[in-house]
Symmetry: C3
Subunit: 279 residues, 3 copies
């Protein structure tokens, strides 16, 4: 619809690499908007893990060209009525990023990062959709063709029905909080390398008196561990635990040349408590 | 060879993601046809599973831009003489899709979908091949350079020797059939999500009296299961079995928020029988 | 910086497919050099396996368009002082290939293949780097932006500080050697298909009297195996062992329609001895 070059599309999903699902979405985009360039953020989000998809999207988007951001982690695909989830496209207030996906919280953390939602549309009955719509593959039949149309210059109002931004679903996330000398925190997720990403910020860490180079005591499932608060893996000996601020400015636990996930036997949503080590 | 923009190339294989094989084929294409755009359908086809590769290719191609369709699942690579398989490129009667791959049935189901084969060539000794040809990596040495040449505008007759379409190998597939009140069917494959794709069509399902919303009895390996014939996962409670028409218009078994593959302990080629449930 | 089209970037890493790391690097490149085309060689190098990364890079690069070759396998990321590794970019003597990565041997085998290093720079404090630099994700903060800048036409001297080529780290590799009628060799790595790649060349194999079609005796961990020296898998019956020259001109062991890795229970760095079979 536009004479300009197509916008860049980024694409994140839980479709995995074993089937043709990701490739088919690429094909649908290429048919709707020849010449569109697509950057795959990852398709290795664990199946149906909306929260991890939302966190990965929030981590990645600041490093992506401003454009069309397609994200699909969709356990409720095909549900109707009360259980139904909307399919949506939205534009953020800052940078006018366009996000597309199921309205189940997946887009919430990233939208917030760009100042919230300026405009949203329900694309469940988009004129861009492929007919017949399957019950199980909305990536192909709704999300990808809408992404292609938007990259091609279509406006939000052309691809869906208006929707109040306040009607969009939020993403429930655990929150670390201070409890005297302790910080009660949670594991948000374990990454590919076995690093445990926490819901704690550097500010909260300094509020309990922790300083770079100091020791931190960690209680988890009845066991106590000691870690060094360090700036990088190599600040501790091999196979030792460290607390650090990760590349996404979140506090995390890692083992130098090892796996904190295995050492602590911990995963998503585990509660743990941290305090400055007495010794 | 042509002044037009290069044709889109799609690429499916069983090369996996752990080695450099896929990337090397991309490199060879980029050297032969700079600017060619390549869509990876998937490289996660289980090793040497020609049938699953053929089914994935047939599912994906209608959603791909018409162009050059490279597919490599090639257990017979390097064999010569009687056991040898040809390397081929062909053009379909409808839409003039160009398919490239080993002549072992991999291209058969997709070719049929586009009306059959209008022209075929044997590319085993293509002038486009890279010398010396390795015995084990024809993707790099034969298939990818030929794909690049065809995307660049070369004609089939320029990249290989003429071959009668009737000489191409077919793909043996199981076939569901009616047996009184029973439908005897087979699992064609289990997808990434544990859904079991059957060789049955919606027509066959209605012939045994099944209607949407009804119950179906399933016999498999001596055990009996009950499923609902539903249009989507969310039509049944979590962890319950359903029979549905999948996004590729094939009948399939799934478990809502679970895995039919695990629940039924079933995989490719398993026989199962379905009938309308008595109760 | 340049009016010419961007150079092609190739990208190899051990980041895996489960996280957003690869996608984020693509995003950074696209922001720095819109329109750059990136070929993913593989991101499935086993974590921290610098040697395997170096071998895969050497295998792949001759098939890649000459351009910017980004490679990241970086167990020492974030280390400082004595343990620190440099981040480097270099240009090879032949073909002026530009390689970017950690200076830990990863780039060494590929550089040598193109005649060695003509010019090198330390990019640890590159003006192209993203601030604040994280301690753990130099792919995003250093390597990818420098790759984008170089693809965009920047010169090496603009993205880093001069470095003597002789200061670059080498890659220690095992070396096969003759010992009377025996050839003492090592497994360099096991590929996706379970083929065992050796450090032996075809010349060394012929020096111990082996001829194509002949039998070879293999001693490994106290067990003796017999293989045929063949040109391709199909030259031996299914499930039988063969010795062959692989697609990268290295000697390798494989099992036709099986896995030599499993049959021999062997992996990287295993020592084995080969000689002409007496019978």
């Amino acid at each position: 619809m536009s004479n300009a070059s197509p916008a860049v599309i980024t694409f994140l999903s839980d479709y995995g690499y074993g089937d043709e699902f990701v490739g088919v979405c690429h094909g649908v985009i290429a048919r709707r908007c020849p010449g569109a360039s697509v950057i795959d953020i990852t398709h290795g989000i664990p199946r149906h893990d909306v929260r991890l998809g939302a966190l990965a999207l929030r981590s990645a988007l600041p490093y992506m060209p401003s454009g069309i951001h397609l994200a699909i982690v969709d356990p409720g695909v095909g549900a109707v009525g009360e259980d139904g989830r909307r399919a949506v496209a939205l534009r953020t207030i800052e940078q006018a990023r366009v996000l597309i996906g199921p309205d189940n919280g997946l887009l919430a953390a990233a939208s917030e990062l760009f100042g919230g939602v300026a405009e949203a549309v329900d694309i469940g009955r988009s004129p861009e959709r492929l007919e017949p719509i399957s019950a199980t593959f909305h990536g192909r039949d709704i999300f990808a063709p809408v992404a292609g149309a938007l990259a091609d210059g279509a406006q939000l109002a052309e691809v869906g029905d208006p929707l109040a931004a306040t009607d969009l679903r939020e993403l429930p996330l655990p929150t670390a909080h201070r409890d005297g000398e302790w910080l009660r925190a949670h594991v948000l997720h374990a990454d590919h390398f076995g690093n445990l990403i926490l819901d704690a910020t550097q500010v909260q860490i300094s509020e309990i008196g922790l300083r770079l180079g100091g020791q931190v005591e960690i209680e988890l499932a009845g066991a106590t561990h000691t870690a060094r608060y360090a700036s990088t893996f190599a600040d501790v000996p091999a196979h030792k635990l460290l607390l650090y601020e990760d590349a996404q400015q979140m506090m995390a636990l890692a083992v130098n040349r090892g796996s904190a996930e295995r050492l602590l036997d911990a995963g998503s949503d585990c509660e743990l408590s941290l305090r400055r080590s007495g010794t």
